[in-house]
């Protein structure tokens, strides 16, 4: 599904290098967790996967289903199945949530040569997905993410993910800002989407989320590199010992 090879990236504007040779492979159907202390480059990696142009890849490549996506813009990547659930979903005043959802779903369908969704079909899908995630219909009448609480924004991201049916789901600290009940709802939503054709990159710095979304592999990102990979036991080890030990070993 995803092969990240020796990825180096810097901030386009000021040139600071943030990713310093990331290597990571995620297989079809795999749930890979990326952990690491604040400032390691986790969000940067997620943005680069989604195609944000504030970052510039200086070396290495990202292969998605065997092909490089570096030349694709964010919309093209999304249409081909890449989805990023943002750590901090943006509020977009004036853009109605429903209009946004419909525009996004139909834009992707169009890019894939599929017929547009008609309104009743669209409404049915949104209602069903919102009910799963216990999202109040009133919330969807507001402009996109405007006035949503932190937890509501995170759930809205998962709603978008469920509706857009991506193949590679990158989730950046979806657990932060969620109380335990909301966390369970979100995890159930994610688990329902797990399938042999869909892979997940779950970014978190707490083990807690991984109790609910059990990963196949766990990778530690530190200072722009993957310094250790393992199974879900690695997450437990981090929970017990903190990052210090592993960082020490890698140094």
């Amino acid at each position: 599904m995803l092969e990240i090879k020796n990825l180096h990236a810097r901030v386009t504007e000021e040139g600071t290098e943030i990713l310093k040779g990331v290597d990571l492979t995620v297989k079809d159907g795999e749930v890979a967790a990326i952990m690491g202390p604040n400032g390691s480059g986790k969000s940067t990696l997620s943005y680069i996967l989604a195609g944000r142009d504030d970052y510039e890849v200086t070396e290495g490549d990202i292969l998605y289903n065997g092909e490089s996506i570096l030349e694709m813009d964010p919309a093209e990547r999304a249409a081909s199945g890449v989805f990023l659930a943002f750590q901090y979903p943006l509020e977009i005043p004036g853009v109605a949530t429903m209009t946004f959802l419909k525009t996004a779903m139909n834009a992707q369908r169009k890019a894939r040569g599929e017929a547009e969704l008609m309104t009743p079909d669209f409404m049915r899908r949104v209602k069903a997905a919102a009910a799963e995630l216990k999202i109040d219909a009133q919330m969807l009448k507001r402009p996109l993410n405007v006035g949503f609480s932190g937890g509501e924004k995170k759930r809205a991201e998962i709603l978008q993910m469920a509706l857009l049916e991506p193949k590679l789901c990158v989730m950046d600290e979806t657990d932060s800002g969620l109380d335990i009940d909301a966390l369970k709802i979100v995890a159930d939503g994610v688990n329902a989407l797990r399938s042999a054709e869909r892979s997940f990159l779950v970014i978190t710095h707490y083990q807690r989320l991984l109790d609910y979304i059990v990963p196949d592999t766990v990778h530690v990102l530190y200072k722009g590199r993957i310094i250790k990979s393992g199974t879900k036991d690695l997450a437990l080890q981090l929970e017990n010992e903190g990052y210090g030990q592993i960082i020490g070993e890698a140094a």
């Binding site: 813009d73 990023l84 943006l90 977009i92 005043p93 004036g94 853009v95």
Partner: protein, 421 residues
């Protein structure tokens, strides 16, 4: 004998006077206005209120050469039957050139008068002693139609105000809305193939506790000039909502002069200026708070594909106008390097217990917003269009007006955005 030193007139000024002379009946009041126009000429950039809109120079470019001849000829254009549908179905349409023909709804009286606009004094203290918009209006012989809404009358359908659409047209209207009444007025300023200048001077007096929504819907042709002025007094505990849409016009000056006429009045002004090509569109507003406990919010949003935009907003708070709460903002989205926008907010506050603020921004589409939309698969052009639309649609939404009117305004904005992208 007093000797007035006469500056040589520019061709545009001469043309304007000629046009005015040819425009109608010979009578003293109009003669006086024409003489004043001849004497004073048009304001230029050294008049502070016209600094960003050098009317003398700009009118010259609009009215010079062939345009002048066309403009003169415009008087002989056949009066085509206007087939323009009202902005909102079911509106009462008032032709300001023949107001007596309108069928007034219950509680409303509509009449014609002989009165010309009083141009001897300008409501803007940064302007010349004579008021340019009114002067031009009077010189062209625009007689004020009067519309009176009875106390407590609730006029359901909007009243759409029009004047000789498309032709050289100068109109004036005086509207009195009684205490506790409710009404909606739409100034419809449309193009129609003639580059001749037009003007519209409106006076609106809102009674105590009344609620008025006034819409200026300006969509002149890109080679036409238009001067508009709305003067409003807002009674005690009355609400005045204004929406200005400038979606056309080659040279446009739209002035709004609002003053509180009692405690507790509320003023909500929103506007959208859409510019392209080499348009010059100027919105100049003055808000005078002269009574305690009044509020005002004023926001203009501008989208530029080109052209020159101007916003001048003045808030004046008198010494006795304690607890005034007034906010003003002007936000510009520059979608092309060919466009520029000048914003000049001004506060003049003499009361000590007030909340006043203003802000002006100009920039491109927010890159983070664009990335977010694109990351959901919305291609760049479509994502940008969505963001631009959101930026201006918010102005309509914030007014919280009747759905049909809101949709009609949004549709006009969308049509412009679709056509210019």
């Amino acid at each position: 004998m007093s000797v007035t030193e006469l500056r040589p007139r520019t061709p545009a000024e001469t043309a304007l006077v000629q046009l005015a002379e040819a425009a109608g009946t010979d009578e003293d009041a109009r003669r006086a206005a024409i003489e004043a126009l001849r004497r004073e000429g048009l304001p230029h950039r050294r008049v502070e209120a016209w600094h960003y809109t050098d009317l003398r120079g700009l009118m010259g470019r609009r009215l010079g050469g062939d345009h002048l001849i066309e403009a003169v000829a415009a008087r002989e254009f056949p009066q085509t039957e206007t087939v323009l549908a009202p902005l909102v179905p079911g509106s009462t349409v008032v032709d300001l050139d023949a107001p007596e023909r309108a069928s007034a709804p219950d509680g409303v009286t509509i009449a014609a008068t002989d009165a010309l606009a009083d141009w001897h004094e300008s409501p803007n203290h940064l302007d010349r002693p004579v008021d340019t918009v009114r002067l031009v209006n009077a010189a062209f012989g625009a007689r004020a139609a009067t519309i009176a809404v009875a106390d407590r009358a609730e006029v359901a359908a909007p009243i759409e105000l029009r004047s000789g659409i498309g032709l050289q047209s100068h109109a004036a209207v005086k509207v009195d809305v009684g205490n506790g009444a409710k009404a909606v007025f739409i100034e419809r300023v449309e193009g129609g193939g003639s580059p001749a200048p037009s003007s519209l001077v409106s006076h609106l007096a809102i009674g105590d506790g009344a609620e008025v929504l006034w819409v200026v819907d300006q969509a002149k042709d890109l080679d036409a000039a238009h001067l508009g002025q709305l003067n409003v007094s807002v009674g005690a505990n009355a609400t005045f909502k204004l929406f200005v849409l400038n979606a056309g016009g080659g040279l446009v000056r739209q002035e709004v002069h609002a003053v509180t006429a009692g405690e507790g009045s509320e003023i909500i002004m929103r506007g959208v200026n859409l510019l392209q090509k080499d348009q010059h569109v100027d919105v100049t507003t003055t808000l005078r708070h002269t009574h305690p406990n009044t509020t005002a919010t004023e926001t203009f949003r501008n989208v530029l594909m080109g052209g020159h935009g101007v916003f001048q907003g003045m808030i004046k708070v008198a010494r006795e106008a304690q607890k005034t709460d007034a906010k003003m903002a002007c936000n510009t989205l520059l979608l092309s390097e060919d466009g520029d926008f000048s914003a000049k907010p001004e506060l003049e506050i003499f009361a000590d217990d007030v909340q006043c603020g203003h802000g002006a921004t100009a920039g491109e589409i927010n890159g983070e917003h664009l990335f977010y939309l694109m990351s959901r698969g919305i291609p760049a052009p479509q994502a940008k269009a969505l963001l631009v639309k959101a930026f201006v649609d918010e102005m309509v939404e914030e007014l919280e007006i009747d759905e049909a009117l809101g949709e009609a305004l949004t549709a006009k904005i969308d049509a412009w955005l679709d056509a210019s992208h």
